[in-house]
């Protein structure tokens, strides 16, 4: 049995047998919540490997697109530095720093370029959050 299947089975017992047998409201709620937690954890575990691969591919594509944009246009140094850091670190902290740099340079960039750059970043964010929704909902 896979870990996700095990968690799903325990969740079912908590939901169907243990929770309904608890008389007091507070502990009964705790039993049902424990079932929800185990079920979500199980789904997250089941998706983990595929999500990691998709996330890495999305990050590669984002960095490539941003590098290509920067190769043909002059951008404020803060943005160039943030893109370089993203290429190096490829993590959420670097992505946050890039988003912060874009907003700070909004006036210098002008609305069209700001929207284009942020829009490209947002495409990656949308794909990531859609994946997380597979187990979070």
């Amino acid at each position: 049995m896979n870990p996700d299947q095990l968690l799903e089975r325990i969740a079912a017992v908590l939901r169907q047998d243990i929770g309904p047998a608890v008389g007091a409201e507070y502990p009964r709620t705790q039993a049902f919540m424990a079932a929800v937690v185990l079920q979500k954890l199980g789904r997250q575990l089941a998706c983990a490997e595929a999500h990691r691969a998709a996330e890495a591919a999305d990050m590669d594509a984002l960095v490539a697109d941003l590098d290509s944009t920067l190769a043909t246009a002059v951008v404020p140094p803060a943005i160039a530095a943030a893109v370089a850091a993203l290429g190096r670190d490829r993590n959420d902290a670097a992505l946050c720093a890039l988003i912060g740099a874009l907003y700070e340079s909004r006036t210098t960039l002008g609305a069209t370029r700001f929207d284009a750059l942020l829009g490209r970043v947002r495409r990656t964010l949308r794909a990531g959050i859609d994946r997380r929704m597979e187990f979070a909902e």
């Binding site: 409201e25 507070y26 709620t29 705790q30 919540m33 424990a34 929800v36 937690v37 979500k40 959420d92 902290a93 992505l95 946050c96 988003i99 912060g100 907003y103 909004r106 942020l118 829009g119 970043v121 947002r122 495409r123 964010l125 949308r126 959050i129 859609d130 997380r132 929704m133 187990f135 979070a136 909902e137």
Partner: protein
Amino acid sequence: MTGPTDQPLEARIVDYLASRMPDGRDFALENVQRIAVGWSHETWLFDLAWREGGEARRRGLCLRRDPGNTLLRHLSSLEQQFRVLRCLADTALPTPRPYWFEPDPAILDMPFLVMEKVSGTCPNPWGREGRAFYQAAADRGTLPASFTATLATLHTLDWRAAGLDFLGVPPPGTNFARREIAKWKELIDVSGHPPEPILTDLIAWLEANAPSVDRVTLVHGAYRTGNLLIHEDRISAVLDWELQVLGDPMYDVAYVLSDLNREGTPLLSNLVDRDSFYRDYEAATGFTIDDGLCRYYNALYAMRSVAFWMSASGLYAGGQSQDIRLARTAWSVPVVLERAARELGY
């Protein structure tokens, strides 16, 4: 109902209440119930029975204890809640009458307040039974009108005369929204949650688009079914005074209009028809509902929700709380971030 000391909590509550009511004797608690709603303070409901002047007396009470590890962390204060309830006690707004606040943890292990147990029920709007309750009430029409009228009372009460200016009066301009953003940012920072790029985007957008506010009212901050006590088809008390501020009434209106607070129904807060709400609220307050402003505040609520869930799941992860509902909120963070992304147009 026991606390960490040898004496059961119930007995210590009796001792405390007896000390506050020197003319009474033979005190006893009946129908003691810890309710499972709320994310912050522990809430206990009970009836106090005693004898006074040769007569048997009885009074319903509600006790809230602050375990110090609440979802709102340092932003939550029972003392402020008590103070707000005292200010509101003699206004037209239905609220529980506060009796005592005790900051000393030596009495009941943690600070607590005691207030009136107002008659009524508070059906959970997220459950099947609660949804059915509100749907039936919506069909009758009295409760929806009371919902809107009570919000109008809240927004038109003279907060200066009530002494509520201690909550902080925002100066004209963008200060109100910026102050809210800063408050929720602070909660996010202390939660210890890893960086979330959608949240960074949302906060930057909110800061860049903070609206200017020129009308200041009392704002409840979480005005919805589930935070309102209902008796005989009317609102008998507005509860959950933890998020109140002085600021833009559209902040509350946006919360009412938000689909955060309804499930599978077009009714606002599972109860009120949208057109009726607009008509009745505007007529009762003289304010015009600003849809653009409400959309902005809706995005701000997304940020606040993220802050709540990051804080809650952080408390469980850090071992400061054993409440499994808090553990479950780790999965609420992406759900609200997805909503935030949609608010921002992606």
